[in-house]
Amino acid sequence: MGSLPAPPFGGVGLGGGGMREATNTPVALPGVDTTSALPTVRPTPSWSKARRALGNWLFVLPAIALILTTAIYPLVFSLRLSFSRYDLARPRQIPVGLDNYRAAFADQYVHNATGNTAVFVVGALAAQVVLGLALALLLNMRLPGRSVLRAAFTLPMMFSTVVAAMNFKVLLHPTYGLYNWLLRFVLGDGFVGDWLASPRTALPTLMVVDTWQWTPFMFLIFLAGLQALPVEPFEAAELDGASKLQQFRDLTLPLMRNVIVAAVLIRLIDLLKIFDVVYILTEGGPGIGSETISFLIYKTAFKFRQVGLASAYSYLFLIVVTVLATLAVRVLWRKTASAKG
């Protein structure tokens, strides 16, 4: 058998800084006397290293170019826009310093949208955590038809949000909608409502729609977490006479903490950015009753063409989302660290 083919780029792989250098040690192959067959590899000369580095850069260059053009450049451009007045109908950037940021802090409609977003996030997130956990606990038990039920409960998540929202628009129609018909049939006229058109019910209705669609996501993550829990602590607690509630409070919840916080974090970021359901079902109305931050940014940029102002809103919003996400991660890290002792 002849000598082994030389690896590309001077005998090393294509990885980054963690690559192993080639050595003179022959590779031991079963049944092959490699000691006499392999030539001695000398230390790599510097020109070869440079060639290797160039090769590496050539491989990562397309990715860098893609990130620069599709992520970094728009970010920098929109940052610049946030300090300018820029109207789509008069595309000239007029520098205005911090005016857009001052306007954002002073604008009552930003305050309103912030309040609506906060209410929406807290309400929908709480409902999704509670319902998702309850469903996961239920379907983690030995029930007849459990597999079918698990599949059925994940269905809403498979819908496009647009399709789901359009369905709800029809179902919630005050005159022709199924829900009002059912309510009228079961409970009488007093329980029929303009769910999307009343200032009292529009935002809660959006929460219900979002909860219907995204509770399955929580359910799936929690179910996976429950199935990964060790059995021994629960058997020991059972022997010690702990009730199911005590087991849930003192074992399930602490052991599931990481899973719960990760799921909450993902949904928190998603909910803060809520747009599609609002756009389709209420367009921020009635009045400004369901206008969220993302919807306000969209309207400011594309309906009212104030792209500079919308960019300032976006950067402020980005800061808020980043701070909240970082805080959540820190809380998770601290609690996990303290739990480990």
Partner: protein, 487 residues
């Protein structure tokens, strides 16, 4: 959604030709037509008509579309038409199909049809890119100043003098739609769909209840007396349906009350010379309080969410006694395939204030040509074809509203569409009440200050006075910031 007119035409013609050849061959060979094969083609025809038929039939009100299948080569002339959803889209597709038949040098006319709410943003984004993605744009008249001011659209009277049809007859247009296509005394738009805000009412209901049918000059008080008798939710018959979903079309509906409440200049929203807000005076307070009362008392359930489709459906299903809406909605009420009230509708202006002067509103759609278009001349000729005398006659017979004087005088049009007379009365009412939306390049920003506060008044978040004060403050600040208003 993008639809290739050439593809629709090609598919229809191919199918018809193959079907004819099949029948001819079968006859020549002296054998009976194979039934299975015949049925197959019948099946194809039904499927194709299901998909493409509405675009090709003159009475269609919507189009089921497929993406363009005609690949354009370099040098091919493909006109891209930015259109807005509505019954007019189908009429325009019928006419575009005929135009392609007569103009083989045009490879295709591609329709990119968008819902009204997204029309302005989509058109403006495309125009501001300077890429010429759209050649022809169906433009709502309040959008025109922004396009013209930014230099995005072409001057139709100066830039096409060498190819313009000498018999086009600009002078035949009614002054109102003609003015809708102008900005700073320059004609940027061909008047196309000449809408006004009008009122449709159920003649049979009025007659059954022994009520006097409304006419030009019927006051709001007299109208409400009728509403009290008509409105019967137990029988699923509501007095009135009108646009109430938040937005500019809710605002224009309210403006018909506001503008009718007093003669100009007291009925104005802004002083058009100084741009000082005027909407929160005594006239505004009375008008808005009355409008809120009207909306609360005589509208169907879900009123705060009612928009175009809901309004028309309520009338078509016989659930509303009166409708105040744009005249583009009138033709679908007389379409027997979707309406239960064909032949039972009367038409007039919206009711009048105590002085007997009604107000309406002008809402004309014009055709504009993108300055970055790759085929401006071909686009110009196509737009001329859509809006010249025969073009607007065809369009109007299909169900549209052409704004030419010759149409208002035409016996065939008036016989087929009795609401043309009301249309003229609406134009007259709008002019007398000086009822126009603010004609500024920043129209959408300014009108939003009214939209959102009007909506807040309708849901009782603000009292009428608070809502009007908020409109005055917000619009005043904005107009000052934009440099229109001093002080």
């Amino acid at each position: 959604m993008r639809v290739s007119t050439r593809w629709l035409l090609h598919e229809r013609e191919t199918l018809e030709r193959e079907f004819r050849e099949e029948v001819r061959l079968a006859t020549v060979l002296g054998r009976p037509i194979e039934r299975r094969r015949l049925m197959k083609y019948v099946g194809y025809s039904i499927a194709l008509f299901g998909a493409a038929g509405p675009a090709l039939l003159k009475d269609s009100s919507s189009v089921t579309a497929a993406p363009s299948r005609v690949a354009a080569q370099d040098g091919d002339v493909v006109i891209t038409f930015a259109n807005i959803q509505g019954p007019e889209d189908a009429y325009e597709k019928v006419m575009a199909t005929d135009y392609l038949k007569a103009h083989p040098e045009i490879k295709d006319i591609v329709f990119d049809t968008t819902p009204y709410n997204n029309g302005l943003e989509k058109q403006l984004l495309e125009l501001s890119s300077g890429q010429g993605g759209y050649d022809l744009l169906w433009t709502d008249e309040p959008w025109l100043p922004a396009y013209a001011d930014a230099g995005y659209v072409m001057d139709l009277r100066e830039e096409f003098t060498d190819i313009a049809d000498p018999n086009y007859a600009w002078e035949d247009f009614h002054p109102a739609p003609l003015a809708a296509g102008q900005w700073n005394d320059t004609q940027f738009g061909f008047p196309h769909q000449a809408n006004t805000l009008g009122m449709a009412y159920r003649k049979d209901v009025y007659q059954e209840l022994g009520l006097t049918e409304p006419t030009v000059g019927t006051t709001w008080t007299e109208f409400e007396e009728n509403l009290k008798k008509i409105h019967d939710p137990g029988k699923q018959l509501y007095g009135l349906t009108s646009w109430r979903q938040r937005g500019v079309l809710n605002t224009t509906d309210y403006m018909t009350v506001h503008h009718s409440w007093a003669p100009p200049p007291d009925n104005q929203f802004w002083n058009l010379e100084t741009w000082e807000p005027m909407m929160n005076g005594q006239v505004g307070q009375e008008a808005l309080a009355y409008y809120v009362h009207l909306m609360d008392s005589y509208m169907p359930p879900g009123a705060t969410d009612i928009e175009w489709t809901a309004m028309i459906t309520a009338m078509q299903q016989g659930q509303a006694g009166n409708m105040i809406n744009w005249t583009a909605s009138f033709a679908p009420l007389e379409d027997p395939s979707v309406s239960k009230v064909v032949g039972q509708i009367g038409w007039t202006t919206p009711p009048a204030g105590t002085n007997g002067q009604p107000a309406s509103h002008r809402g004309v759609w014009v055709l504009t040509i993108n300055k970055a278009s790759q085929h401006p001349q071909e686009t110009f000729k196509f737009a001329e074809y859509l809006t010249d005398k025969p073009g607007l006659m065809t369009y109007s017979l299909l169900g549209g509203f052409g704004g030419r004087n010759s149409l208002f005088d035409d016996p065939e049009i008036n016989a087929k569409y009795p609401y043309y007379a009301a249309q003229l009365a609406n134009f007259d009412a709008a002019a007398k009440a000086r009822a126009y939306r603010p004609r500024l390049p920043e129209f959408d920003l300014v009108i939003e200050t009214v939209n959102r506060n009007l909506s807040r008044a309708l849901i009782k978040e603000l009292t009428p006075k608070e809502a009007l004060d908020a409109m005055a403050k917000e619009s005043g600040d904005l107009l000052k910031q934009l440099g229109y208003r001093s002080g």
